[in-house]
Symmetry: D2
Subunit: 362 residues, 4 copies
């Protein structure tokens, strides 16, 4: 494959490790004698000469990517939902919306003489990358989701960092919950899947773990709390994924608790009413995705970045890199983006937790 110039972009929310991907891909490509362009803010920097008053594309040199492996965020900027192209586009489902920018994008790649694109992104971004591939763009995908819920890879970078931050927070809450004999509800990320809640809850010693895959009953959780109370364990820690839902559905669960109340806040109100115990909720929010990646995530991200360039070298386009066991492999993008990896409700990890006494509220 005769490659002279490639481009890299990052789409969707940030995840610790994005900069490591960029760094490894850049250094590996430079070593091949290629030129590397960074497209700023998804495809916005491709379609617009200037984004936010700065050039839409930046040449990536060894100097430019120095010392960024351990930095959170992304030096290329990310995209707001639905604004991957600098247009008003609904993109969360991967559809183009009213106006299809793909012709513009293809034209710009040709015009800029960019031979291949390394697209780092989540579900939505990879779907778009796949469509561009079907239209003829030479593209290699790098999966990015802090939720670790892509079936095509055993692990995604950023996930262990999120688990680390959440576990640390749960650990801190333990001592104060015990001292005050409180119930602490901790809401962690996970809109569709419960991996972060499951892993951080297990590692942090949560008493109850609530995930989208297993609808919960507030009454059953209250029972667990009171059972502990009777055994003189006067406090309890409940870890809840933001996407967890009560068995009966949300509306009937508890009356509206205002704009700021997430599911964790609602559950705390309910549990306080059911148990009579002082109950507080902490919503961890963005600290889970910000900051320096843990070594595991750095290395996975570096390997993904290098593997993406390796795929370009071999002309292996329309694929996505992923981890299988200890090996980084590539899988067809088409397959990769179809399937979300949910926590199996009879999963060995779930079973491990249950047998250790953790309740899933069911």
């Amino acid at each position: 494959m005769n490659i002279r110039r490639i481009a890299i972009n990052t789409g969707g929310g940030d995840a610790p490790g994005l900069n490591a991907v960029i760094r490894a891909a850049t250094l590996t490509a430079l070593e091949n004698g290629w030129e590397v362009l960074g497209i700023r803010r998804g495809y916005m920097g491709l379609l617009h000469d200037e984004v936010d008053g700065e050039p839409g594309m930046v040449p990536l040199s060894a100097e430019r990517v120095r010392g960024i492996t351990h930095l959170g965020g992304t030096i290329l900027g990310t995209t707001a939902r639905g604004n991957l192209f600098g247009l008003e586009v609904r993109q969360s489902d991967g559809t183009w919306g009213d106006r299809d920018p793909s012709a513009d994008i293809m034209g710009r790649f040709a015009e800029m003489e960019i031979d291949a694109l390394i697209a780092i992104g989540g579900d939505g971004s990879l779907k778009i990358a796949h469509r561009l591939f079907l239209k003829g763009l030479r593209v290699v995908g790098v999966p990015k989701t802090i939720d670790n819920d892509l079936s095509a890879t055993d692990m995604t970078f950023g996930f262990q960092t999120a688990v680390d931050v959440a576990t640390e927070a749960i650990g801190r809450l333990h001592s104060t919950a015990e001292a005050h004999q409180r119930v602490m509800v901790v809401q962690v990320m996970g809109r569709h899947t419960g991996w972060i809640a499951l892993e951080s809850g297990l590692a942090g010693g949560a008493d109850v773990i609530l995930i989208p895959e297993i609808p919960f009953s507030a009454e059953r959780i209250a029972e667990k709390i009171m059972e502990r109370d009777r055994a003189r364990r006067r406090f309890s820690i409940v870890v809840i994924a933001e996407g967890a839902v009560p068995a009966g559905g949300l509306p009937s669960f508890v009356e509206g608790t205002g704009r700021y109340g997430g599911i964790g806040d609602r559950l705390a109100v309910e549990l306080e009413a059911l148990t009579g115990k002082d109950t507080r909720c902490l919503t961890l929010g963005h600290i889970q995705r910000g900051g320096s990646p843990v070594p595991y995530d750095r290395n996975l991200a570096l390997r993904f970045g290098a593997a993406a360039v390796h795929a370009v070298e071999r002309g292996n386009f329309g694929c996505m890199v992923g981890l299988q066991g200890n090996h980084v492999r590539s899988v067809p993008l088409g397959d990769a983006v179809t399937d979300i990896k949910r926590v199996p409700i009879d999963d060995e990890v779930v079973r491990t937790a249950r047998r250790m006494g953790v309740s899933f509220g069911d």
Copy 2:
């Protein structure tokens, strides 16, 4: 002073370092040949033989206090507000409420042949300790407030840990805020004073720091954010103490945002409206006070614990230990509990921050 048996209790919210105080006081007292009793949950364990199904008082041996220096919480349990005695008592203002339990308390101390009490607690608990002293109890106070707002000591244990947790969180938000070009509002502890917000905001590189001592204007904050935006700093970090208030007062600030909206949530709504920038709020909550104390807090707490026993040895009752410069001294309890230490608005630290470009929203 002929001492044979002392008691220790902890009152009010927990703070990292409580266990270190208990450990140092216990070991130092045991070394004197004294007996040491831990009173569980404020004065509840004194007034009731059993609290929560366990004895109200526990003998503290070297074995019992082993390996607890680095643990958060308190092995003696804390008290809910207003329930320091296991009675319905309003205690936040130090008044006895409808029924004065002090005679009961004095009687129990005599009955148990407890020669002196080391009372570890905040403002309210120390006021009660002072009243017991005035009634004849031999008491030494150890100040505990995570907010570091006691005028009688240069520093309180737990504060540096809270600043550490908050600074870490602010650091993590930096990278994600920058990647997404967002405004991040971080609400930290500090009901009456802004020390945690000031120290963590300064250390974490906040752009705006809002403290109870300096009423803020949302408009001025929005100006600061837009000024940064024009200089191509497309994100901003706002650190706000939970007790910060807008200059015009709270009600006129923004319409009711429901039970769960703290001042940070409200401000985020306001700032998003004023700047048009995506704005999020993170309320740090209890992780600031939970978990292992940083070495600074461990050592300060150990020194306070040992100094309290030293005061008992010398018969120096009715006093509170405190840090002055590098020295632990004792001050009269009466003086100690009268004055809260506010951030001086022309404070050198505030001035340092201002001159570095930090806005206080005024």
Copy 3:
């Protein structure tokens, strides 16, 4: 399988996560209605009624294993090399030595009516477990090596914690090395394999990584350092596994540097001579294996512990649990203990590092 009582022991050096294995195995077994005995210090507690003045075996209850998931070390104690049985036995190669204690061990298990053993240990300990199995003991193995060098499992617990500690140290050295324009050599664990050096070196941004699998040349390392120097990168970070060796062999490398000089110290002397640059060595030592396991290791260890009990339930003896992809499986002990997993010298991770400019000193 009719099980009423099982035993658990830990052998060899400690690794973060041992307590999590013990906790998960105990809780899972108790949930089955089984009794659980912990054998203290390898097999010493089995063969001797008392070890170190305390009973050789301890009943493991839910209370006893509470709150230990995040603790380093092992509540059962470990064994010194060659003293797994409280006898003078050479055990590093798995041979019994002069006196075979296996008859005694089998007798004691029968006498104590222990129906199965969960043996947590490294290479040597698992070999012994295998021999006991061949003599009729119902045994399930749990692999423990901080070096992550067992071929029968994708990952061992403790390894990520060691990588985390080493990466943190390398990160700290970066700033001081740069400020002083120094060469810093960091010696990490890895007697036979270079996994810790490779992963921490890559995550920490090392310039040179030296592993047992790739013999190094001090001259080539010096060249790399001077090449950086000419590019105005005046400092370099060299990460070396304790088992790394120069291509020509150790004796010819540098004259004896005394009892305390590990390979890292020797290399530092050599590099200072070759480059004329101020060069220091830091040997990380035991902090890599002590302290709280990272969440990844906690969860892997918990899963291993539960899976070991699950194997006992199914009567699947003579096996060892291990990770394959995202799944915990079991493999025959005989296979498990034969093969060490070395870093393949054309490994994808090695190649990733090389292409990013990392030298392996070859």
Copy 4:
């Protein structure tokens, strides 16, 4: 005072917080409308147009000092001992050595129209700054010593970070020492004073703390270890400052242990011989001074930087900034550099430790 241009330099070893001083001083000075020059590598950048192939002086803008508060090292580089001027000069005692460069320095300041110098440095650097002041240079000093041993300030930045790193390491060693029933000797920084050893040893729960101020006896330490052993505490943690010495002096202590053996290594050999217990030494080295400063150090450094500019504004030259209680004050440089702050052997902190059972080996 009519100031238009100031310079800043850093001398001696690095300490976490140096960059924070530079940032605060630069931003505060820029806000005054002043120009700020950074002198690279002590005075070398002043006396040489080029240092290491780059300009000797760099203009410090807001952009240049952005985002450096939390970074270890120093963006201006430090100086090797005895080479503060780029000449062969003995400087550890503050003497000029054979050739006095002060005329050259004064000339260059005049030539460059630098109105004042902010000199950040340790004992030696501040002595030189004082001499330059006596010759007419308008200089303000900022104290830098990770050892916290300057009598003119209650605290120096970097110290708490060093204590933090050392305490974390000691904590990690606890679990492995206990599991293996070992004696662990940890050597920390502190050539002349024992502050780091004292504070980290106390916070980390060391059993023995050895500091330069209190000569130790290996026999007394061995007694302490065996006393613990008899009480079934089979492990011990010994924290030793690098400058600690045996009561009888070093030569008679233990025969030569080669180039790499620090006092900690020597003591480990001795203790193993005396107690018969497996004993290991870990020398923490440069990780204590590298890496991101803890919030306490960041803020102290920022305040020092701003206060130094404030002193320049007021024309308060020949002084050094320092912390007294909670206040940053300035003291005459002449006084500041004369006195080292040793740990008083009857210090309250030492006494606290002793009464908690810590041995000082005396």
